[in-house]
Each structure stands twice: as structure tokens, then as C-alpha cells.
Amino acid sequence: MPRNRVFGTSIPTRKVIVERMVMGLLIACSTVAVLTTIGIVLSLVFESFLFFRKVPITDFLFGLQWSPQTAIRADQVGASGAFGAIPLLVGTALISAIALSVSGPVGLYAAIYIAEYASPRFRAVVKPALEVLAGIPTVVYGFFAALFVAPLLRQGGESIGLAVSSESALAAGLVMGVMTIPFVSSITDDAITAVPSALKEGALGMGATRSEMVRQVVLPAALPGIAGGMLLATSRVIGETMIVVMAAGLTANLTINPLEAVTTVTVQIVTLLTGDQEFDSAKTLSAFALGLLLFVVTLILNVIALKIVKTYREQYD
């Protein structure tokens, strides 16, 4: 205890001053995360606001045509381009759906197999191996999708008489699906190992087979956790950029045919902002409007997912 406290004075000692300063520093540090969020929201909202002064928000949200690149000179016809986001949203949804229809079942079954069937030795090898998939930079997946998977699909399609675009939604979606396998499988693994073994034994003791135990007892009990995980995976897939930039198309194409080229929200943000930009043009600003859209959608998914996962965790704690 500070010595002068003993003598009844209230002058803070050096130690106390230093401690207060350190405490202030700590509090300041902890606000950085909040400031980041505020920064994101403010910059996206501000630039989007500028954009919506040029292009009505309804045109943006419900327009069926996206061609911001049409204007070459400001005095040209159609200088403002078309900023209907629907084709981008559909493209994003299409690729995400393909990705999730790969990573959902594959991740789920892989996790089940590893948790319930695999021998300890097999598990010790395979689990980290699958996790490597999560550590590979996405640009590598993009390279692989563009160089290997897309041509493979094209040739495969040709051999059965199908026209597959070389920038098909399928190629990007499949590779993105594989990328998210470890994501889904590790969350599923957490969820099914959290199911008390008493329940599992209860089912087995009734003469259930292992698969019956998994399907009828473990999965229903683990469902909230898995659902939360799938939502996080969805948000991850929607926001994924490099794979689609490298393997999906650039031109907006309103279709749900996975063999055709579609473009996504993230692809457009990148193309709009990596070329020569004119400051304050609708074209540049539209990227921020897309960013805001992306942020809002993923935020909603994350909040719901985190909530589900949290309540689920508390249930078995």
C-alpha cells in the first residue's frame, strides 16, 4: 500500500499515477475494435450516401441491369451506366449456393466420420490435414480454380455436349465449397462432440446402429450448433473475393445456370476500384454501396449465427 496513505494524505503516489495511466491506455486500446466498426460503417454509409444522390436507391436495389463500365466519356449517352444490383446478388447467391451444397454435406459427413467412426490414429492424421484446407490463402484457390478446375469442367462439358463457360459459376462455386469444408466440419465436430456421450450410449444401448444414433439422436441435438456454423459459412462464402475474382466472370449476367459465367458483388467491388478511378464518379461510389450491402448482409448472418452458437453452447455447459 502507498506509504502516504498511512499518514492520511491523499496525494497519489507515483505508482498510483502510473497505474492510472496504464489503465487509461488499456481502455483506449480496447476502443480500437469499436472505432474500426464505426470507421467501416461511417465510410460505407457516407460514400453510399453520395452514390444514392446520383443513383436512386430503388434503382440500385431492384434494377435488373448492371453495367457501370458503359460510360467512357462523361458526355456520352448513358454516361451514368446502369446500377441495378440484382444480377450481382443473383450471381453471388448462385455461387454461394453451389459452394454450400459442396461444403455443407461434405463437411458434415466428414466431421461425422472423423468424430464417430475413425480410429484415433486415422483421426490424428486426417483432422489436421483437412484443416490445412482452411489455412491455404484464397488466392491459391483462385489460381487452382482458374487454371485447373475451370478447364476441366469445360472439357468435361464438351465431351458430353454441354457448353460450359470458361468462367462458369460452377468452377468458382465448387472450389469455394472445398475451401469451406474445414469451416463446416470443425463447427460440426464441435457441435457433435458437445452432445453428451450419455445420449449416444443411450441410443446404442437400445440397439441403434451408429448411423441411427448419429441421425436420430446426435444430429437433432447438435442441430442449432450446426445451423449456426452453416450461417457463418454462408457469410464467409458471400464475402469471399479472390476465388471469384480469378475464376468467375466480370460481366453481369442474370441467370441461374451454373454453367454460365456470372459475376458477384465482391468481383464488382474489385473491378470498380482497381482500375483507374475517377474520384466521386457514380462508378467508384457504387463500389461502396455494394460494400455496404455486403457488410449489412454478412453482419445480419453473423449476429444470428453467433447468437445461435452461444445459446447452444450454454445449453450444454
Binding site: 486500446c29 475494435a33 469499436v34 474500426t36 461434405v106 488466392v139 469444408i181 473475393t241 479472390m242 453473423n302
Partner: protein, 417 residues
């Protein structure tokens, strides 16, 4: 009697069902094996493809040419061309000559110039020097362009192949380890392009990222886990952090563009800005793993420190934090490894550029390893494909190295309380 018939019937039904259930069990198991295989096979093919197309980039073909150096004048390009023409006197047509000149890289004249400037005595004499082969020749010699292909489907024509063959017969073709790839910046010519700018850019960015995110992350973790009393504000910070961890990386890029570049007017393409953006992305990871590590330190340590008269701050910084450090470092390394592979946010702040010169400070323009991969992947030449894959190999090597370090660190210092 009737009951007995019923029992027999039921036994039969149950037995049949049991058969079906066992089959379903086998099926389920097979689906599981298939799912695991999908992941493993993909991983193998991915590494296989990258290795197969990338390893050749670590070798470079050199060709030995004889050049008669002019007594004066600086037309080194002319000298090189003349040397080639004299070696293959039968080449007469203009089109063929251009094909002939493509045997050596466009840097050959610079090589010659450097040589002559270093040794003025070579003026007026014939010299023999090794120069980098042109990209197509390089590919051909390394076996990446097949002779068996029809002529119009390959970039190296029959005639050029004949020339290469005759040079090889004369012992004038050699493949060497491609140091240049590691020491030079980008180039329009695949055989001259290197990853030095990208590696330095990544290094600078990660240093900035670490310098910001490590202290910020650790101090935040300490505050939230050890010192703050739980209230609405800390709950809000926590929710914030969890959500930031799941915000798409490109959104961080937009933040960097709007705030760091447009508001603060920091330079485009600078590793410093890249590092700042990456730091914001890495922060949640460090905070979350840091808190977990702090939580794992048993309360008895804190109580012991407090009992001998330490203030709460001293208890944390002298006793708890050092014990939690291995865990904190593990999380930091994993976060940094992830930051190393991030591409999208760097595209937003202009670290996607054609940079030839090595960056000298964190404010000089640079690219980053993953961005270089992205840039090269877009180039159609086979020579760039090879370099893309090679850059990926280096990127993966760093990533694996960092993750391995994290795993070993965790293993070594794992304490079971």
C-alpha cells in the same frame, strides 16, 4: 395360436429390417469415407498441380553466345543480334531473324553492356557470354513445351527448335538455379520477373501489422479478461470483436481506401497502409485467442500475487500475462499467417501495381506475395503460369512454416494446470 403366427411374422419383419439397417449403416459409413476423401483428394491434387507447374520456375535456361564487341558505340542490341546472325548464317528472312533474336532474353544487351563497361578491354574483341534464354526457349528446354505438339499449337516453332538443338549440341545451353527469381522485381518478360518486391512488400506489411495489432490486441485482451468489470460497454466491445472477426476482408479494404487513403491521404500501394489494414483484420483473432490464453491461467496465480501485495495491474503484467504468453503468441502467429495470405484488402488500397524496384521504406510502392500471385495468374504466357505457381509455393511455404511454429509453440508450452 394367432399370437404365435403374429410373433413369427414379427420376427421375420424385424430380421428383414435389420438387414436393411445394416446395409444403411454400411452406406452411411461409405458416404463418410467419401466425404473425407473429397477433402484429401482435393488437397493432394491442389498441391500436385502447384508443384508440377511451379517447380520448373526455380530453374532458368542460359544460352552461350559469341559477340563481337564494337570498338566504339553503344548499340549492344545490334551487337547481340549480329552475334546470333553470325552463328546461324543461313537465316536470311526478316521473319526468321525475329524468331532467331527471340532465342535470348531481351536483357542480353544489358548483360553485354555491363560486361563491357566492367572490362573496357573487351572493346573491339569477340567475347563469349552466357545470357538468359528467351521465355519460350526456357520453357522448351525445361520440357514444358512439347516437341510432339503440332507446330501451330506451340509458341516455339520448328525452326527455333532446330536452332536450340544445334546450340545444345555445341554445349551452349545450360539450366541453372534461378537466383534471379528471388532477387528481382516484376517484369513484363516472364524470364526476368521475380518475387523480391512482393516478398519485401509482404514482410514490411506484416511488420507494420504486427507492430500495431500485437500490442493493441494483447492490451485489449488483458483489459477485457482481467481488469474490466463486466458491464454494457464491455459486452458491446465483445460483440463488436466477435463480429469484426467475421466481416469479409474486402470490407476492411474499403475502410482502408476510404479512411487511410482518402481521408488521411496516405500513399497508395504502400506496405504501411497494407499493414494497417491487415492489423485491423488480425486484431480480433489476437484478442480472442489472447483472452482464451489468459482465461486458462488458474485464478490461484492471481490470488497469490494479490496476496503478497501486488496491485491488480502488477498481478496481471508480472504473473498472469507471462504465463499466458505462449498462448498469446500462438494466436498472433496464426493471425499473422492468415494476414500473409490476404489479398482482397490489399487490392483495394492499391498494392496491386507493376513494381520493378525493391521498396526501400514502408512508404515505397510495393506489392505483396499473394497479390503478385493474382497479378501473374492473369498473364497468359506459360512462363508467368510457372512463376505464379512458384510464388504460390513460396507463399505456402511461409504459411506452413508459420502455422507449424504455432503448433510447436503450443505443444512445447502447453501447460496442464
Amino acid at each position: 395360436m394367432i399370437e404365435q403366427v403374429d410373433t413369427v411374422k414379427r420376427q421375420k419383419r424385424m430380421a428383414d429390417l435389420r438387414d436393411k439397417r445394416h446395409k444403411a449403416e454400411v452406406r452411411f459409413r461409405r458416404i463418410g469415407v467419401a466425404a473425407v476423401s473429397v477433402g484429401l483428394i482435393f488437397l493432394t491434387v491442389l498441391f500436385g498441380v502447384v508443384l508440377a507447374s511451379g517447380l520448373s520456375a526455380f530453374k532458368q535456361t542460359y544460352v552461350q553466345i559469341d559477340v563481337a564487341v564494337d570498338a566504339e558505340g553503344d548499340n549492344y542490341q545490334g551487337m547481340v543480334k549480329r552475334g546470333l546472325r553470325e552463328y546461324f548464317p543461313e537465316v536470311k528472312k526478316r521473319r526468321d531473324k525475329r524468331k532467331l533474336y527471340a532465342l535470348v532474353s531481351s536483357e542480353a544487351p544489358y548483360r553485354l553492356k555491363a560486361l563491357v563497361e566492367e572490362n573496357p578491354g573487351y572493346r573491339g574483341k569477340a567475347v563469349s557470354l552466357w545470357v538468359r534464354a528467351g521465355a519460350d526457349v526456357d520453357m522448351f528446354v525445361k520440357g514444358e513445351i512439347s516437341r510432339a505438339l503440332p507446330e501451330d499449337e506451340r509458341r516455339l516453332k520448328d525452326r527455333q527448335i532446330a536452332w536450340v538443338d544445334s546450340l545444345e549440341d555445341d554445349g551452349r545451353v545450360e539450366t541453372r538455379f534461378n537466383w534471379h527469381f528471388f532477387t528481382s522485381g516484376d517484369s513484363r518478360e516472364p524470364e526476368l520477373a521475380g518475387i523480391a518486391v512482393a516478398v519485401l512488400g509482404s514482410l514490411f506489411s506484416l511488420l507494420v501489422c504486427l507492430a500495431l495489432s500485437f500490442p493493441l490486441g494483447v492490451l485489449t485482451a488483458v483489459y477485457l479478461e482481467e481488469l474490466a468489470t463486466r458491464n454494457r460497454w464491455t459486452d458491446f466491445i465483445e460483440v463488436n470483436i466477435n463480429n469484426l472477426a467475421a466481416v469479409p476482408s474486402i470490407v476492411f479494404g474499403l475502410l482502408g481506401l476510404a479512411v487511410f487513403l482518402n481521408v488521411f491521404e496516405l500513399p497508395r500501394s504502400a506496405p504501411m497502409v497494407g499493414g494497417m489494414v491487415l492489423a485491423l483484420m488480425t486484431l480480433p483473432t489476437i484478442i480472442i485467442t489472447g483472452r482464451a490464453a489468459l482465461k486458462a491461467v488458474p485464478p490461484s496465480i492471481r490470488e497469490a500475487a494479490l496476496a503478497v501485495g501486488a496491485s491488480p495491474l502488477q498481478a496481471v503484467f508480472h504473473h498472469v500475462l507471462p504465463l499466458a504468453m505462449p498462448g498469446v503468441l500462438t494466436g498472433t502467429i496464426i493471425g499473422t499467417a492468415r494476414a500473409l495470405g490476404e489479398t482482397a484488402p490489399l487490392l483495394m488500397i492499391g498494392m496491386v501495381a507493376f513494381v520493378v524496384d525493391l521498396p526501400e521504406t514502408i512508404l515505397s510502392p510495393a506489392t505483396a506475395l499473394p497479390v503478385q500471385v493474382f497479378l501473374w495468374a492473369d498473364s497468359p504466357e506459360r512462363g508467368f503460369e510457372e512463376r505464379t505457381a512458384a510464388a504460390i509455393l513460396i507463399l505456402l511455404a511461409f504459411t506452413i512454416l508459420m502455422n507449424l511454429t504455432a503448433v510447436l509453440l503450443r505443444k512445447k508450452y502447453e501447460i496442464r494446470w
